[in-house]
């Protein structure tokens, strides 16, 4: 490790750490804000996940760490976690009053740096800077690995002499480190830990994808992509990390697809897990099916189509496992590509920057993936296949690209790592999947429509249900109001300043009281709350919209009259994919 990095650069670090806190509970938000301020951190609060994402996207380097609650009305905390990890690569800490192991595990799987249990103590918050620090360190390691990649790749395919090449690499290496340190120097003294992040605009990402397609998934590598893209200011690391994220995204798509697939019909035993080749076959079966289906999909993005063409080429030597059903088709097709690409790829750098650093020990050593593969293949493969959701036509906007070799790589690690890497890339797919159910919901505003969509994604049902619930709760309000009893003592409420602000004490449409909690509410209060409930519900509608990928957020939140036909969905999704 560079000496400069091993200790805080300036006296004041971690003071001034820029924290973004997301929690729907206003009480907690206030408390956390106060606590963090006492730790001398710079705090920004928001109580909606989509608002948080908006803030994060607006200022990519504006925050050092994100703390988020797990249960939020507009979006699952885990999903937010994924998004942040994927788009901004910031450390995210989850919090919840619920400390069940399964939840904590889920947090780690989705890439959380830490999981705090409410009530949160000051001392727990004091130490959150370590996660920021750790990420920086891993970035350095990232760079180191990339350099090693360069060496390997060049050795494989070029005529450069080793000496000459090593020289270049070392030079590059030290240059990178120096740059990094310099950045740190400046950053820390600015009380910020800013990385020079590249903003992957739509255009840039399209260039990237085009380059990837051109090269072909089996041969893709950051350097080649960089060359093809011909963007002067872009560095190899930028491309490498973006490539990694892209792969994760694709693998996430695949994972989500599989998740909902009627996987039960597929027998795992059919997949020969013994050796990498067999595993390839196993994987390829999925991809083959996916390829077929993907090609049938109407993709608005041209790059998708281009990729389709590419992936077809790689199907040749893949054997199909027939048990895989059509359902799997919805998945990205590049699994086979991934496998091919894998052999020529080195994945060292890719994982170092994933949030769960500890999950990827293998990468420090850049072992050829095949080795570990054979060990864990059987169980890992199954695990990977399992979560593929069933995507039907509604999900035509899913890009055909399958998970890259990363999937296999993930399987090298422990199971949580598998799902975490996969889930990270799934963000977009879950976003796009949600479009359909969202639209259906908007269209009909009926509760019933939610159910089919609930099968789409794991996390989604939670959302839809709560939305659904909110819609449902709308109805009983009117009935309750009519059944309330007058309460004499309710008048005392009116003196109170707090939520009863809307109360007009005098009056009454006191309705009969039942022995329920409505006891102390009078008609007006109820109407006020009714209003509140309405607000709440309305709030949730946009919240529901928020389930739709944030990239869609802007065009969609304008009104609920979102065009639901597939043609408009696609471009939106396209757009969405590239806002990274």
């Amino acid at each position: 490790m560079e000496n400069g990095f091993s200790s805080p650069r300036s006296e004041s670090f971690p003071a001034g750490l820029r924290v973004l806190v997301v929690d729907d509970d206003p009480t907690w938000l206030k408390i956390l804000e106060k606590m963090l301020k006492k730790c001398a951190y710079e705090v920004t609060t928001c109580h909606l996940a989509r608002e948080a994402l908006k803030l994060l996207r607006e200022r990519k380097d504006g925050y050092d760490i994100v703390i988020s609650d797990v249960n939020m009305p507009d979006m699952d905390g885990f999903k937010l976690l994924e998004h942040v990890g994927l788009e901004m690569d910031l450390p995210v800490i989850m919090m919840s009053v619920d400390g069940e192991t399964s939840k904590v595990m889920k947090g780690v799987q989705h890439g959380a740096c830490d999981y705090l249990l409410k009530p949160i103590r000051m001392k727990e918050l004091r130490n959150i800077w370590q996660h920021v620090f750790r990420k920086k360190i891993h970035e350095i390691r990232d760079i180191e690995h990339e350099n090693i990649d360069i060496i390997q790749m060049s050795r494989n395919g070029s005529d450069l002499s080793d000496d000459g090449h090593m020289y270049c690499v070392e030079d590059y290496n030290s240059k990178k480190r120096k740059d990094f340190d310099k950045n740190d120097d400046k950053d820390f003294s600015d009380h910020s830990t800013k990385k020079h992040r590249v903003v992957w605009s739509v255009d840039l990402h399209q260039k990237f994808v085009k380059a990837v397609n051109q090269i072909g998934f089996d041969k893709v590598g950051p350097k080649k992509i960089l060359d093809l893209m011909n963007v002067p200011w872009l560095t190899r690391e930028n491309v490498a990390s973006h490539l990694q994220k892209y792969r994760l995204y694709l693998s996430r798509l695949q994972k989500e697809n599989d998740l909902k697939a009627s996987f039960g019909g597929i027998k795992h035993s059919d997949f020969p897990p013994k050796d990498p080749a067999a595993s390839y076959g196993h994987q390829s079966s999925i991809s083959l099916n996916q390829n077929d289906v993907a090609n049938g999909y109407q993709f608005c993005g041209s790059n998708f189509i281009a990729q389709d063409a590419d992936t077809k080429n790689h199907e040749g030597d893949l054997k199909i496992v027939s048990e895989m059903t059509e359902i799997k088709r919805a998945l990205t097709t590049d699994v086979s590509d991934l496998q091919k690409a894998r052999s020529s790829q080195s994945f060292g750098p890719s994982f170092a920057s994933l949030e769960t650093e500890e999950s990827y020990p293998a990468f420090d050593s850049t072992n050829p993936p095949e080795f570990s593969w054979s060990e864990n293949t059987e169980t890992q493969v199954k695990k990977e296949l399992k979560p593929h959701p069933q995507l039907e036509d509604g999900y035509s906007q899913l890009p055909p690209h399958g998970p890259k070799p990363q999937i296999q790589m993930n399987q090298l690690q422990s199971d949580p790592a598998v799902t975490s890497a996969l889930s990270m890339t799934g963000r977009d797919i879950s976003g796009s999947i949600e479009i359909k159910p969202l639209f259906t919901e908007l269209k009909s505003k009926h509760v019933s429509h939610v159910s089919p969509t609930e099968s789409a994604i794991d996390t989604f049902p939670v959302q839809t249900k709560s939305q659904l619930i909110n819609h449902q709760s709308f109805e009983p309000i009117s009935t309750v109001i009519s059944s309330m009893k007058p309460q004499g003592f309710n008048l005392s409420i009116t003196d109170l300043e707090s939520c009863q602000r809307n109360l007009t004490s005098s009056d009454p449409n006191f309705a009969p009281i039942n022995e329920d909690l409505t006891v102390w509410l009078k008609g007006d209060y109820y109407s006020m709350n009714f209003g509140q409930s309405i607000d709440f519900i309305d709030y949730d509608d946009p919240g529901f919209l928020a389930e739709v990928p944030f990239y869609l957020y802007d065009p969609l939140t304008a009104d609920f009259q979102c065009p639901i036909d597939s043609t408009t969905e696609c471009p939106i999704v396209d757009q969405g994919l590239f806002i990274a």
Binding site: K118, V480, S492, L496, C499, E515, D516, V519
Partner: protein
Amino acid sequence: MERIQMRRQLALMRQSFFDQGFLDEQFIQLEELQDDANPNFVEEVVTLYYRDSSRLILNIDQALERNPLDFNKLDNYMHQFKGSSTSIGAKKVKAECTQFREYCKAGNSEGKKDKLGPWRQHVAQGIDGRGQKKKQDLTWQNIVIDKSKIHTFNHQKNGCPSGITMFWFSM
């Protein structure tokens, strides 16, 4: 004179809340967070809590009205409520929420409503006199009434926000 007495009274009351298990350590944390920059911190926090929790209770109540009970939804509300209550250290409320959630989990079956009955009694005393007014059963009614007391209290005694809060969480 009056002030001193009031302070003493408040202190006693405050202590009693701890002793009776209404409040836990989190409340002390809140008090510790209060400083010159935020002299009314505790009061502000509890106000927020109260506002939020009344909304939640309303939702819960409505959910309890439905037949059949939607336990998932109730569980969700309870979870939120529990989270909220943890924030100010409302120990008893938190315990009730946990128990309620147990009921929800245990039951998507018929007899659950009866189990819920007592809970509702406990938390929200029926005006019709059902449920005994044990000290623990401070109900919304009492809270509401107390709030009006609190405001007069506040006027008289400015620098003791914790007095206000003591009433609020006691349910």
